[in-house]
């Protein structure tokens, strides 16, 4: 890898959104990246993750956000996405109790498939809809406490806390990560191949 190549960012982080289908993962992602809800979005060949560069503490961080939307039921297939993710957001829908109950299952899957130092984050989405709410903020907080995860409620629809989730997560990663975060994502192909080649790496890259 060419270390001297000039970059317009200081670090690259790979983030991943998981959670039951229909909790609004792709909306959250689209809202964050495009900063407007429901742009005419085209699934273009060649773009599998959305990229947004943000600035934190004077550092330019390039975020690659991956989404498993629509593939939730393919259990093994989606775990391929977990490789090399430095931050994982588990999303549930506050208007859907089932999706809240699934959080523990997702947490377990993440623990088994992601690298040990990946930073997790719990998000209760659709908090703007107080009429159909089934999961209270308190319940969300309690679960987050139990699992030891940071927690926020967001609304992709109104934009509440969308940026906060991604900024907060990035800050947490930077705090705990130090300087060794650069490698993954700079060139994912090399990263994955290397990961496979010495699979004894035990999930860290």
């Amino acid at each position: 890898m060419s270390a001297n190549r000039p970059k317009n960012f200081d670090k690259t982080l790979k983030l991943l959104l998981v959670g039951d289908s229909g909790v609004g993962k792709s909306c959250l992602l689209l809202r964050f990246v495009d900063d407007k809800f429901n742009p005419s979005f085209i699934t273009t060949i060649g773009i599998d993750f959305k990229i947004k560069t943000i600035e934190i503490n004077g550092l330019k961080i390039k975020l690659q956000v991956w989404d498993t939307a629509g593939q939730e039921r393919f259990r093994t297939i989606t775990t391929a996405y977990y490789r090399g993710a430095t931050g994982i957001i588990i999303v549930f829908d506050v208007c859907d109790e089932n999706s809240f109950e699934s959080v523990k299952k997702w947490f377990q899957t993440v623990q088994q498939h992601a690298k040990d130092d990946a930073q997790l984050f719990l998000v209760g989405n659709k908090c703007d809809d107080s009429e159909s709410r089934q999961v209270s903020t308190k319940q969300g907080e309690l679960l987050a406490q139990e699992l030891g995860l940071p927690f926020l409620e967001s609304s992709a629809k109104s934009g509440i806390n969308v940026n906060e989730v991604f900024y907060k997560l990035t800050e947490l990663i930077l705090e705990r990560g130090g300087d060794d975060l650069q490698a993954p994502g700079v060139n994912d192909k090399v990263n994955v191949a290397a990961n496979n080649a010495n699979a004894n790496a035990g999930g860290c890259c």
């Binding site: 689209l30 699934t43 060949i45 992601a114 990961n195």
Partner: protein
């Protein structure tokens, strides 16, 4: 094992071949039940890899070709709508994908194997996977390869250390085909070739695409686009139907439909599946391919694209075997993770 509970009519202690469709239905029904499995030995890898791939392809193709357009509409295939049973054929395909993946993992991690046997199982799956690629069965290819790349297996150093370089290269090659990088760029461009040949050149070559990606694309288009948009050109601020969204949905579904070409089963029960259309499509396509390539003497190469020798008893075994792993996994929560940790404890 399941006796006449499995397939009605094949009793009297005599084996009778059953067609794929009936097998799939029996397998689906048996999968909804809970059984206690005493014999946990897995038998599939005793067979030739290409042969397994051929039968996998016939099973998967049958499932894929049965998918109806309405199953793909309105997110009918999502977990939320499962109880409405609006997507029966997608559900069968999803279940098969998951069970095949679980089977691959179980066959490598199952207890009582030594490292050599685990490496052998890994090699066998690579052979099955490359045969699937040869047969254009991308769905089985994805199920196998994502399982092999799963952390449950990739974390076990011993297995990979003992894998010969030749197989490591094969593993990397096969992993690169259906890889999420750049929105599955490698796979999508391959798929596009087949789509173009089906749509533009009127060549209908049977393939089994990676179904999961169609579902993901549909989800993004449905979730990411509004149903209505406001008419900015008019002062009345009427709502207009966002027709672009529905064009996109239609496009994805019609792509899927244009890929629903059946393989020709030249096996024992071939006459059960091959209808006049299969034959017509096959002969037209082969004729066109010949005229494109010019004068060729071996039309076998082209016929090979269509013809698979179906072996009903092996298909039956495949369905029974993956079903068995489902039962074993249902009995013990997180079985594969535990197995993986037994072979190599977590902090090693």
């Amino acid at each position: 094992m399941l006796m006449d509970h499995w397939v009605k009519g094949s009793i009297n202690n005599q084996y009778a071949s059953v067609d794929t469709q009936t097998l799939i239905e029996s397998w689906w029904n048996a999968s909804q039940e809970s059984w206690k499995i005493l014999n946990e030995d897995l038998a599939l890898l005793n067979f030739n890899g290409l042969e397994i791939a051929k039968q996998l392809t016939l099973i998967e193709s049958k499932m894929f070709c049965s998918i109806k357009a309405e199953e793909l509409l309105n997110q009918n295939f999502t977990t939320k709508k499962l109880h409405l049973n609006l997507s029966p054929n997608i559900q069968r395909s999803v279940l098969f994908t998951n069970l095949l993946s679980d089977y691959v993992i179980e066959s490598i991690l199952q207890p009582k194997l030594n490292v050599k046997q685990r490496v052998h199982a890994l090699k066998c799956w690579l052979k099955v996977a490359i045969s699937c690629l040869y047969l254009r069965n991308f769905n089985s290819l994805a199920s196998i390869m994502t399982s092999l790349q799963s952390f449950l297996i990739s974390r076990i150093a011993k297995i990979w250390d003992d894998l010969p370089q030749k197989y490591k290269d094969l593993f990397h090659y096969l992993s690169s085909i259906i890889h999420p990088e750049k929105n599955y760029h490698v796979y999508r461009s391959k798929l596009k070739e087949y789509l173009d040949s089906n749509l533009d050149e009127d060549l209908d070559i049977p393939i089994v695409p990676y179904l999961s990606l169609f579902l993901q694309d549909l989800t993004f288009v449905v979730d990411g686009n509004p149903n209505y948009r406001t008419n900015t050109k008019s002062f009345l601020e009427q709502r207009l139907i966002n027709i672009d969204k529905y064009f996109k949905i239609t496009r994805i579904i019609s792509d899927l439909q244009s890929l629903q070409v059946a393989y020709k089963d030249i096996g024992e029960l071939g006459n059960v599946y091959n209808n006049a259309r299969t034959d017509l499509v096959r002969s037209t396509t082969i004729k066109k391919l010949k005229s494109q390539v010019g004068d060729v003497d071996n039309d076998m190469t082209f016929a090979d694209m269509f013809d698979i020798h179906g072996v009903p008893c092996l298909q039956e075994l495949i369905l029974l075997e993956v079903w068995k792993v489902k039962q074993v996994n249902a009995k013990e929560e997180d079985r594969s993770w535990k197995l993986s940790c037994q072979i190599q404890p977590r902090d090693e």
